[in-house]
Amino acid sequence: MDLVPQLLFTGIGIGAVYALVALGFVLIFRATNVVNFAQGEFSMVAAFLMVVFAVDLGWPYWLSFLAALGGMAVLGALFNLGVYYPLRHRSYLPVIISTIGASILLANTTLALYGPQPQVLPGWFETQGILAGGVFFDSQYLLIIGVTAVLVAFQYWFFEHTLVGKKLQATSQDKEMASLLGIPVAGMIMLTFVYSAVLGGIAGILVAPVLFVSIGMGSTIALKAFAATIIGGFGDVTGAIVGGLALGVIETFGAAYISVPYKDALGFLVLVVFLVVRPQGLFGERVAEKA
């Protein structure tokens, strides 16, 4: 088995999960100018919903998946109404604290309902994967990469080629002006939260069979995704994707060639290096865009 392509494949697979969660960060950040610290909990809650539907209730996988995403859409809407909307005219600090509070609430509610025992969610496919050209393509990682590619393509089309996408962009660039044009700003922000919750949920469901489904999985994923957004350049969609993939690959290679226990530390080392050397990230925000 060739090690380098194998590691590259695995790294891109795990990086795709970071990229999806990072996209959720970026979308909410652009719409509200606030980092949503509960973004990782969206992934955790979705994974638990999946365990409830697919394992406990024994529903078909696809039905459980749709039901979990429906649940995430509702959660995203409630999150907007309860956590962001009442504080929308305040500065960023109360909103950030509010999202941190929501993150603790979601984690502990799940803990109270399901207990501390990590759960196992089977993968979508029966087969483990396929061996091709000396590389083992794990079926779950293939699914992750495929779904991420489709979502990124969808998002590009949606934001660049639909009027609603343009209205979302306008809302994130200047809310007051958007409202003067008759764009329903509150509705656009609601849409952003719902979509980000679903995006985080898909990431959580996809990665659940690779990891255990646990209360802590949300914060782990969110920290990595947060690092990915900083590496890519905060507020930049392309940056979030590239940053997520890069972090996944760096981690995987670090685990193989340097040390497995220090895998996570290596990811954060890269984060620190970026913060020191290139704080604006790979796709640093163009200054003129803020003018």
Binding site: T162, L163, K166, K167, Q169, A170, Q173, D174, E176, M177, A178, S179, L180, L181, G182, I183, P184, V185, R286, A288, E289, K290, A291
Partner: protein
């Protein structure tokens, strides 16, 4: 019935009284200008009309119905478009996309129809026709003003509110902007125009009001306003200031 009527409008920012007891009317088909120095309360008046700030007291009537308490989204849907100070063109969208979003207050239009209308706008604004695909942040001040005006017109407003369209523009561009305002009026849109540049404001207006520290100081036809020597010197940068400089 007046298209727009302000009755005893008062607006405060906390303790600061920006507008105090302002009453004025704009009749259908008119161009009316509101003049005054920096900080006189002109922009605040427009923001109150379009719903961006809540008046402390008074009444705002559009086509005889109150606009008080309506959100900006509702007000623009009722036919009042506001082209604000600083143009506020979305920096990350192209000029054409900015203009297309001007139609966001009108429902039931397909993207294709809106795009066709936006392209037709470039006939009224030939100076920006070549920049349809340029991002907002790359445009010059004059181009931004053209995009902002075109975007405002896409709302098909019955009343167009313009906040200092000449601000920061080269004289030749100012002339072009005011030619467009005259053309907009000729096509039947009522315009309520705020200006510090009184000369330009009065050149297109049927009537003018002068605000001083949030209160109405004077109103009348452009001729009457120019004829008042003290007023024209103090608020309009009038003949004395010009002759002193010359």
């Amino acid at each position: 019935m007046a298209l727009l009527e302000l009755r005893d409008l008062s607006v405060s920012y906390g303790e600061v009284r920006a507008v105090e007891g302002l009453s004025l009317t704009v009749e259908p088909g008119e161009v009316v200008t509101l003049l005054g120095s920096n900080g006189a309360g002109k922009s605040t008046t427009l923001k109150a009309i379009s719903g961006l700030v809540r008046p402390r007291a008074g009444q705002i009537l559009f086509e005889g119905r109150s606009l008080m308490g309506c959100r900006p989204e509702e007000i623009v849907r009722r036919g009042v478009a506001h082209v604000p100070e600083g143009r506020r063109v979305f920096p990350g969208l192209t000029a054409r996309e900015n203009i297309m979003l001007g139609a966001s207050n009108r429902s039931g239009l397909s993207k294709r129809q809106i795009r066709a209308e936006a392209d037709a706008m470039f006939e009224l604004f030939p100076d920006i026709a070549r920049f349809g695909d340029a991002l907002g942040w790359t445009l010059s001040g004059g181009q931004l003003q053209m995009v902002a005006l075109a975007r405002g017109l896409m709302a098909k407003p019955r009343l167009l509110l313009l906040d200092e369209p000449s601000l920061g523009l080269a004289p030749v561009i100012v002339q072009a902007v005011f030619r467009i305002i005259a053309e907009v009026r000729r096509r039947g849109t009522t315009v309520f125009l705020i200006e510090q540049n009184a000369r330009m404001g009065l050149s297109v207006a049927d009537r003018g009001y002068v605000l001083e520290s949030g209160r109405l100081a004077l109103s009348g036809t452009p001729e009457a306003l120019w004829a008042n020597d003290d007023i024209s010197a103090a608020y309009l940068g009038g003949s004395r200031a010009v002759s002193a400089a010359g």
